[in-house]
Each structure stands twice: as structure tokens, then as C-alpha cells.
């Protein structure tokens, strides 16, 4: 194969990667445009009134509050459990089995996971609450949190722990002084990722929410009842922008971690 042929095939590959990216980025545009009155469902003039009206709708402000509260709970619990899981995979017997268990929520369709947990709470007589919503979302976020922390731990040399043990540190001291600083950005990454997943979860949450609404389930329920509206597009835009900001924070933290460990 000549140099020209390689170049041409390289170009072709780049083009197809570009087309694939275009396909998955395209849908992010319309909600942003429609929410400010541009495009088919808008008035045709640029307006931010939808965003202002949002704060006067008590159902909606309630949903935003619930989303924030649940997000905070999930962003704390999932990384903590993920840390325990990652340590268990490295320290207990049968790491393959533990990892498989931790990854299971990834493979179970949302509707099945939601139905199963919903029935479970129902039979136990536990009414829908922030707790039930948080539980299904932590289950969903746990595989991601575990994987991110495992990756952060893979650059950690256990010889440091041996050194700590030899010098008489107890397990907690060794963890706080040696392990934690080295994997801190991994734990922060897991927290950010869990928050993103929490804000964007719909199907599982919808089954166990009862009278509560998160922003996502509000959008889904309203769509099913009355269809799409500029107000809904404004909400979606809010979620898109928030998610992109969180991703940016995640990437910046990741770049710092990379520099710190000399990988980049």
C-alpha cells in the first residue's frame, strides 16, 4: 500500500469518526434552540422567559430540589461504597466474582431494575421517599464509581502500605496518609460521575418515586401526558448545560491526576 493510499484511508476513517460524532452530538442542539424561542415550537423571537417562568412553578422547583438532594446523597454514597468495593476486589478472595457483582447493575435494563426494586420496597411496606430514589440511583452509579476508583488504584504501589505497616501505622492511618492522597482525584471523579448519572436517571427513578419528582422524571411524565413544550426544552437545556459543566470538571480533575502521577 502506497503512502497516498494510507493517507486516503486515514482520511476516510477520520471522516467516519466525524460522522459518528455528528450523529450523537446533533440531538444536543434542538432543545437549546427551542428553549430560547428559536425554531419550530418557539415564538420565533429570542426569549429567556421560559427560564424565568420555571422558578414560579412550585412542582418544578420541588423537582429541582429533589434532584439536588438525591444527587448529593448519591454523590457521597456511591463513591464510598465504590471505594469499599474497589478495596474488596483488591484484598478479598474471589475478586472476579466481586467485580462481576459490582458490574451487574450495568447489564440490567432500567425498567427491570426499577420494577424489581419497586416490588421489593412495596412488599416490605417502605413508602416511596428520597431514600428509595437514592437507593436505586446508588445501585446504578456503583459500577461506574467502582471502576473509576479501581483505575485510580491501579497506579498505587502496595509496597507503600507495607512500609506504613513496618513503621507501626494502623490501617486507618495508612489509608488516610498514604492511599487516600494518591487516589483522592479518583474518588472525586467517581463523585462527579455519580452526580451526573443521578441527574440523568429516569426509568429506574420513575418506578420508586411515588409522589416525588426529579427534573428527569418530571420531563418524562409531562411528555407522556401533554407532550413537549418550550418550558420542557428549557428544563432539558438546563440539564444538558449542567451535565456538560460537570463533565468539564471531571476532565480537569482527570488531567490534574494524570499530571500528578506523571501519566500525561
Amino acid at each position: 500500500m502506497g503512502e497516498g493510499g494510507t493517507l486516503r484511508s486515514q482520511g476516510l476513517v477520520w471522516l467516519s469518526v466525524g460522522v459518528a460524532l455528528l450523529f450523537i452530538y446533533l440531538p444536543l442542539g434542538p432543545p437549546l434552540l427551542f428553549s430560547v424561542g428559536v425554531g419550530e415550537t418557539g415564538a420565533g423571537t429570542l426569549t429567556f422567559s421560559r427560564y424565568l417562568e420555571m422558578w414560579r412553578n412550585p412542582v418544578l422547583t420541588g423537582a429541582i430540589t429533589t434532584s439536588l438532594e438525591v444527587g448529593a446523597i448519591v454523590a457521597v454514597l456511591a463513591p464510598l461504597l465504590g471505594l469499599g468495593a474497589a478495596m474488596a476486589i483488591r484484598e478479598l478472595r474471589a475478586p472476579r466474582l466481586i467485580l462481576m457483582l459490582m458490574l451487574m447493575p450495568l447489564f440490567i435494563p432500567g425498567v427491570s431494575a426499577g420494577l424489581a426494586t419497586g416490588l421489593f420496597f412495596r412488599e416490605l411496606g417502605i413508602p416511596p421517599s428520597l431514600v428509595t430514589i437514592s437507593v436505586v440511583q446508588v445501585v446504578w452509579a456503583l459500577p461506574f464509581a467502582t471502576l473509576i476508583i479501581l483505575i485510580a488504584m491501579s497506579s498505587f504501589d502496595p509496597v507503600y502500605l507495607e512500609a506504613a505497616s513496618v513503621t507501626g501505622a494502623n490501617r486507618l492511618r495508612a489509608f488516610l496518609d498514604i492511599e487516600l492522597p494518591l487516589i483522592r482525584s479518583g474518588i472525586l471523579g467517581a463523585a462527579t460521575f455519580s452526580l451526573i448519572l443521578s441527574f440523568n436517571e429516569t426509568i429506574r427513578t420513575a418506578v420508586v418515586q411515588g409522589g416525588y419528582n426529579t427534573v428527569q422524571t418530571y420531563i418524562w411524565a409531562t411528555y407522556k401526558q401533554v407532550g413537549l413544550s418550550p418550558a420542557l426544552y428549557a428544563l432539558m437545556s438546563l440539564l444538558i448545560v449542567l451535565t456538560l459543566l460537570l463533565v468539564a470538571a471531571f476532565v480537569v480533575a482527570g488531567a490534574r491526576r494524570g499530571r500528578a502521577s506523571g501519566l500525561v
Binding site: 440531538p27 461504597l81 468495593a85 420494577l115 479501581l150 509496597v159 440523568n200 444538558i240
Partner: protein, 302 residues
């Protein structure tokens, strides 16, 4: 270096008898057992329960399964299998070349950026992304306008939205990014000397690919297929948004049964979905060594 032979020291060996640590390590396992495994078991049990008005009663009846397999719902199962299979094949055709390119042709920096670019939209809820497609593919949407402007068609195409095609678009854009990662992981983990040896022995590129690269990437491909297939098979939002009124796949049929409080039927259909997932997952677990796939993550760096 094997994944676990490389381990020289472990914290539990250094600090034996630390009960708090033990509890901390066991907590996630207990959590998933309590809030995932037990509920799934209960769901399977409920699929044999009886409906009594608004309530459900423990029993051992096959009513739900009979209702499911003996009616139009069986056609829904067939259609779901077909649609998910089509979506998975399309996804593989797109995701494999991208994963291959990232693993072998792109520089590490480029790989990181492209992988990130594929991750970002996936993090935005797929329901929101799918809503946008109903506008993009609608009769007056930009895709139809473009086709008319270019002169490819003279009337708006109706089958772009509320059709099998639309559902496929929705499923592919929802699950494809999910499939690039495992494929890329397994391709990137292939030892280069194996491929070089094939070249040195004179195998043409196509044979090297078919005999060396492809078989070694199968763990990732199979993991990707599980993601894509089970995801599409159980999806309950895309068929509602893209399929239009009356379009039913397993996912949204389960949701409608829940809406009318027929929990045993919903549980029976959901059990079928989870069973399909379990069979695929067990096959993967038995056939492939997870270390060939997640080895880098599991490995101690000593």
C-alpha cells in the same frame, strides 16, 4: 505477569483482624445483594403470583407467562428480539472500526480526546437526546428539508419518524457509545508482538486480522454485544418516543403493565429480559477470562 500472582502484600495480611475494614469492604457487597439480587429474586417470584383486584397474592401460577406467551405480546417479544438484534449489528459495524482505529492507528493523546468526545453525549440523558430526534426526523424537520432542498426527494419522507427505522436510530445513538469502550479496551490490550509475529510470518493484513486480532478482541466484542443487546431489548423510552402510538417493544410493554398495576405480568416479562441477560453474561463469564479484558485495571502495579 498474571493479574493476581503479582500481588506481594495485601492490606488484610498486613493488618489482620481489622473488623472495621472488613465491614467497609463487605458493605458494598451486602448493599448490592440487598437492593439488587434480592429484589430481582422477588421479581422472579412475583411473576408466579396471582392478581387479586388491585393487590397481588403469593401463589405458584403460570397465568402471567401464559398471558405473555399466548397473545399478541409474544409478537412483541419477537419484534423486540429482531429490533435489538438489528440495532446490535449496526452498533457493532460502527463501534468496531472506531475502536480498532483508536487502538491501533491513533496516537494516545488523540485516543483520549476521541473517547471523551464519545462519552460526553452519552452522559446527557438519552431520553432528552431521543426527543431531539423526533424534531430532526419529523416531516418538517431539517433532515426532510435538506433532502428536498438537495432534490433527492420531492415529498417529505414519512418513514423517517414513528417507524422501525426511527426506533433503530434512537437505539443506535443511545447505546453505540456504550459499545466502543469494551471493544477498544480489548483491542488496546492485545500484545503487539502477536500481531507483529503474524506479519513476520508473511500473513497478509486481512489474515492477520481474521486469525489474530479479531479472536483476541472477542471478549470486548461480546461484552459490547451484551451492553447493546440487553440495553436495546429492555429499553422502555425509545420505542415510546420514536415508534409512535402503539409501537411496542418489551420495555414499554412492561411499563404499560405496571401502569395498570398488573405486576405479575410485568414481572414475568421482566424475568424473560433478565433471563436473556443472565444467559449472555454467564456465557461471557465462562468463555472469557475477565483479566484479558479488565486485566490492566485489576492488576497490582508491582
Amino acid at each position: 505477569m498474571g493479574a493476581f500472582q503479582g500481588r506481594l502484600v495485601s492490606a488484610s495480611a498486613l493488618w489482620p483482624g481489622s473488623l472495621v475494614l472488613r465491614a467497609f469492604l463487605l458493605l458494598p457487597i451486602v448493599f448490592l445483594a440487598a437492593f439488587l439480587i434480592v429484589p430481582l429474586g422477588l421479581m422472579v417470584a412475583v411473576s408466579f403470583w396471582q392478581r387479586a383486584g388491585l393487590f397481588i397474592r403469593p401463589a405458584l401460577v403460570f397465568t402471567s407467562y401464559v398471558t405473555f406467551f399466548d397473545s399478541v405480546r409474544f409478537a412483541i417479544l419477537e419484534r423486540s428480539l429482531l429490533v435489538s438484534l438489528e440495532a446490535t449489528c449496526l452498533n457493532l459495524l460502527i463501534a468496531y472500526p472506531i475502536g480498532y482505529f483508536l487502538a491501533f492507528k491513533a496516537r494516545p493523546g488523540t485516543t483520549r480526546v476521541v473517547l471523551l468526545l464519545f462519552t460526553v453525549p452519552f452522559l446527557v440523558n438519552y431520553i432528552i437526546r431521543t426527543f431531539a430526534w423526533t424534531y430532526l426526523l419529523g416531516r418538517t424537520g431539517p433532515v426532510n428539508s435538506l433532502l428536498i432542498a438537495v432534490g433527492l426527494v420531492d415529498r417529505p419522507l414519512d418513514w423517517l419518524l414513528y417507524s422501525d427505522f426511527a426506533v433503530l436510530v434512537g437505539l443506535v445513538t443511545s447505546y453505540m457509545p456504550f459499545m466502543i469502550f469494551p471493544i477498544w479496551l480489548s483491542l488496546a490490550g492485545i500484545e503487539r508482538p502477536l500481531i507483529q509475529a503474524s506479519w513476520v510470518l508473511g500473513a497478509p493484513p486481512v489474515r492477520t486480522f481474521l486469525n489474530v486480532t479479531l479472536p483476541l478482541s472477542l471478549p470486548g466484542v461480546f461484552a459490547a454485544v451484551i451492553f447493546g443487546f440487553v440495553g436495546s431489548f429492555g429499553d422502555s423510552a425509545v420505542p415510546v418516543i420514536m415508534g409512535g402510538v402503539g409501537y411496542q417493544l418489551m420495555g414499554n410493554t412492561i411499563t404499560s403493565s405496571m401502569d395498570v398495576l398488573n405486576y405479575p405480568l410485568a414481572a414475568a416479562m421482566s424475568t424473560v429480559v433478565v433471563l436473556a441477560m443472565t444467559i449472555l453474561l454467564l456465557g461471557w463469564y465462562v468463555a472469557f477470562d475477565m483479566r484479558s479484558f479488565l486485566g490492566k485495571i485489576l492488576d497490582w502495579r508491582v
